[in-house]
């Protein structure tokens, strides 16, 4: 299926999605964070066709989120490990897990969660600004165009700013 390429868009979310937005990529990354590295391990974990898994792994390697590492020469076998860029994706998975647990957990409770490694107490993940320590909500923080903005970003930003002024 041919897709609109997001990588040229001047928006950090679009650029992220261009690397992880395909249907299986984020679940493969989730499994990588669980320590899975080998093709057969991913295949056992995910109901994915082998050809599709091959393609998604190759894309994640090409985009620098996973690195191929030879673990057997006879027969030749590679495994896939998270790179620094891949490990840096962790907060997105954590935020997505927290949203899924808040919004879609059934009466049986949450399927999986983050817990304090020492106490085992479930974490309540929130996003704060490291500099001020304040929770990032729409009261104290707002989206703003950066130095690398193009006309499209500036257009959306102008719309948002006009709307904010109207409601103030």
């Amino acid at each position: 299926m041919s897709r609109t390429n997001f990588s040229e868009m001047s928006c950090p979310i679009a650029r992220s999605l261009d690397r992880v937005g395909e249907w299986w990529s984020i679940l493969i990354l989730r499994d990588a964070f669980h320590g899975l590295t080998r093709f057969d391990q991913f295949q056992k974990s995910l109901p994915i066709a082998p050809s599709m898994l091959t393609r998604r792994l190759a894309d994640l390697v090409e985009d620098g989120l996973l690195a191929r590492r030879r673990y057997s020469d006879h027969p030749p076998r590679d495994e896939y490990v998270l790179t620094e860029r891949g490990r840096d994706f962790r907060p997105v998975l954590v935020a997505m897990m927290a949203w899924g647990n808040r919004q879609f957990a059934g009466p049986e409770g949450v399927p999986s969660q983050l817990v304090d490694a020492e106490t085992g107490i479930p974490a309540d993940p929130i996003i704060i600004d490291r500099n001020t320590g304040r929770e990032i909500d729409d009261t104290h923080f707002r989206f703003a165009a950066g130095p690398g903005a193009d006309d499209n970003v500036r257009g959306r930003q102008a719309f948002l700013d006009a709307r904010r002024e109207k409601t103030q």
Copy 2:
């Protein structure tokens, strides 16, 4: 294109992706957070075919992230506004924006970012645990199965636990 349905998977990330994992959905949500509500506004912002935009908006309404609101009776016109569930998705967008800015900003600088609404100083978004105030990294927090885990979640979890014991 027929896809594997993620909604039945017992994993909060899979359940989230089942609602927002289609190619355009997260960019539509991004625009909704920028205050766009009308079909023609989304269409102006995104290089998306009208039939695809119609489908994606309908999916987001069906999954409870957007609500349809009639804004004109003659001619009949609806707009799309974030529901509480949709607004609750904000941390995922923030984490994705931060990752995109860290990993893919060019030499010209970041295209857009979150700034402190008063000072205009760019935020540095990190995820912490609300209860303990500690940053969520892989030292102090770990994934764990919850009460709603199925065999698949428990299998991945057992793999992760065995691996952790091996490396300790």
